[in-house]
């Protein structure tokens, strides 16, 4: 299984992501530099991960400048060819800015950065990213962002919901989707969603930060297991 972890200037979770993929999940994982141009930049990789961080300082708009980086041409090509693309936190924001996922991100409702553990309900357990989870399973995962307030206009939103593209929703420990369980004001408590085809996933929470017992939780492991098992079958 071969993973590419894209490194933008200002990415700061690329090492965490590679650590989990290589040292915890035991997979092959390389860094790919943002300036690598051409559609072949990602040839030979099964899954491309856009890690968290503050690419280009998140100046202008979160993810905006990274979304026009040379490597994004290859990311788009990889996705179009049905390859797997995972965007975590800042990576999710980049995917939105690049138009690989619908909608946009606004400042947190609180206008404050939030670093805490939240609960997520698995809405779609059939994706290559979530197949090892149970539908409706509640996960405990850290978030750390100031801009995680997902937004989509009413029509886009209804398409997303109708198409079952919502993969994770913020919820309470019991699984109830309530305002209290929503840390940033995201519309419909959306924490993560996929494209129609199901090969591109973006989410604000950080599964790579809860994949080892010493870190206080292992609910993120399911995502790496899902990716590996789905890639093995593919």
């Amino acid at each position: 299984m071969k993973f590419a972890v894209v490194v933008f200037p200002g990415s700061n979770c690329e090492q965490d992501t590679r650590h989990v993929l290589a040292d915890v999940a035991g997979q092959e994982a390389d860094y790919v530099w943002y300036a690598t141009a051409g559609e072949e930049a990602l040839a030979g990789y099964d899954c491309v991960v856009l890690p968290g961080g503050f690419a280009y300082g998140d100046y202008l708009r979160v993810g905006a400048i990274a979304a026009i980086a040379p490597v994004m041409e290859a990311v788009r090509a990889h996705a179009d060819a049905g390859g797997l693309v995972l965007g975590i936190c800042n990576g999710f924001q980049v995917l939105l800015e690049a138009g690989l996922l619908p909608g946009a991100i606004l400042r947190n409702r609180s206008l404050e950065f939030r670093s805490q553990w939240v609960h997520l309900r698995v809405e779609d357990a059939r994706t290559p990213f979530t197949r090892e989870y149970r539908p409706g399973q509640v996960l405990r995962v850290p978030i750390a962002h100031g801009d995680g307030n997902y937004f989509a206009d009413p029509q886009t939103l209804s398409e997303i919901e109708a198409g079952g593209q919502v993969v994770f929703r913020y919820c309470e420990p019991g699984g109830a989707v309530t305002d209290a369980g929503n840390p940033n004001g995201s519309v419909n408590a959306i924490a993560g969603l996929r494209n129609r085809r199901g090969n591109v996933l973006g989410l604000m929470p950080h599964p790579e930060r809860c994949s080892e017992p010493v870190l206080g939780g292992t609910d993120g492991l399911g995502m790496w297991r899902s990716l590996v098992s789905s890639l093995v079958e593919a």
Partner: protein
């Protein structure tokens, strides 16, 4: 009334945002970009007796909350903007230019 307020960094103050944006634009091939300064644009809709009253209020708002006098400065104009008109105006320009 509608106050259109521009808050910008004082000249000489470091502008990381502007630098990064300029870098992004050049990366996109806009070689002609010489520099970018990033500021904030605030539209405050307020109910005031007349323009002078509105101006007095907005001036106070800028000094007390909207701008950080240590690194920023501000300028504003007051239109008796029923906002719709303004919205429309902006919208138009966008159409035209698009």
């Amino acid at each position: 009334m509608l106050a259109r307020i521009h808050v910008t960094l004082k000249p000489g103050v470091n502008d990381p945002q502007g630098l990064a944006i300029a870098g992004g634009l050049r990366q996109l091939g806009f070689a002609g970009v010489e520099g970018v300064r990033a500021g904030r644009f605030l539209e405050v809709r307020l109910d005031a007796a007349d323009e002078r009253a509105a101006a007095r209020a907005v001036e106070a708002m800028c000094q007390r909350l909207l701008a950080n006098p240590v690194i920023e400065r501000y300028a504003y104009e007051i239109t008796d903007g029923d906002p719709e008109a303004v919205e429309a105006a902006i919208a138009e320009t966008v159409e035209e230019e698009a």
